[in-house]
Symmetry: C2
Subunit: 190 residues, 2 copies
């Protein structure tokens, strides 16, 4: 439902080929919407068939040749419509919560190490985001576009902050649990 609109946005920011798009989805856009090149090519084909984008008229190459796409007015209109339309927030489908719930039943053995690993990963991601913020969003530059992009980055920073704090708390709970004596790793059998 959303990948075509992510592509339209990226193409409006700058007309690109499939591979260029893939690279941008590995960087900035990919922080909140990842996609493989296979997905992107498939979607580019659909969007072209629907008349929302077209290849830049300069070139008309054969298979295996680079193609540059740009957004047509119908594509811009569709993106504007989608952006303004109501979308319900979806619950956070996180495997980690599931695993904690499972651990309450089958024991916490091995889980702690992975929590530590996650903590480290989230700390790194947080540092990366903060670096981007320092580099790309100095206090003076202040166009509406900058503000909106900054807003998205802030969400990323705040979410990573949440994860580092929550994982730290979780690990301290784990430490207490295993410090309370035997019988805590494997709860009573059903």
């Amino acid at each position: 439902m959303s990948l075509p609109h992510a592509i339209l946005t990226a193409l409006l920011e700058k007309p690109s080929s499939g591979l260029e798009l893939t690279r941008r989805f590995d960087k900035s856009i990919g922080y909140f919407w990842s996609a493989t090149h296979q997905q992107i090519y498939r979607e580019l084909g659909r969007l072209e068939a629907e008349g929302l984008i077209r290849t830049l008229p300069a070139e008309q190459p054969a298979r295996g040749q680079r193609k540059n796409y740009e957004v047509l007015p119908a594509g811009r209109a569709e993106l504007a419509r989608w952006t303004a339309a109501a979308h319900d927030p979806k619950p956070h489908r996180d495997v980690l919560f599931l695993r904690l719930r499972a651990a309450a039943v089958v024991g916490t053995g091995g889980l702690e190490a992975d929590l530590r690993r996650h903590l480290e990963l989230h700390r790194r991601q947080l540092a990366k985001y903060q670096e981007i913020e320092d580099r790309d969003f100095p206090p003076d530059r202040d166009s509406p576009q900058d503000r909106l992009r900054h807003l998205v980055l802030r969400a990323g920073i705040d979410l990573e902050t949440f994860w580092t704090q929550w994982l730290t708390h979780a690990l301290s709970e784990f430490a207490e649990l295993s410090g309370e004596g035997a019988g805590n790793r494997e709860p009573a059998d059903g």
Copy 2:
């Protein structure tokens, strides 16, 4: 990848029929892993075929008859293995961030109203979680199982807190943007 394990967890907590599971997925488990009854029935069939669960031997009914499932030792082992295995955290795939990024290109018209709606929804969800916390996690009850479940609930509370704060911030930015004069709703055309 995770639904079967969610079902195993739920069945270990209490052997149930498909519909009972569906109801529990609409409540507590569904806060972080939702599933429809169709998904659940399909998965129950697979889990039974793999020998991880079985119908309670008491009854052996025909189609349209209630069936109660319980977890077999192999199922418990698989759940323990999965819980302890390493899983990489996935990026937050949120449509809202995509829409903000799109709004930076096609304008913010209409988006503000939906942000307000989201804020209201997240406030309500937060209130619901806090109610559950007050009701189900008094400071005295303190078994390892309780602690782990409380940890998951805390994550839900903190995430909803994040959303309400971030959305409030986003709306204040929007107010500033539209207060700065004309030409801000539709950025310069390409």
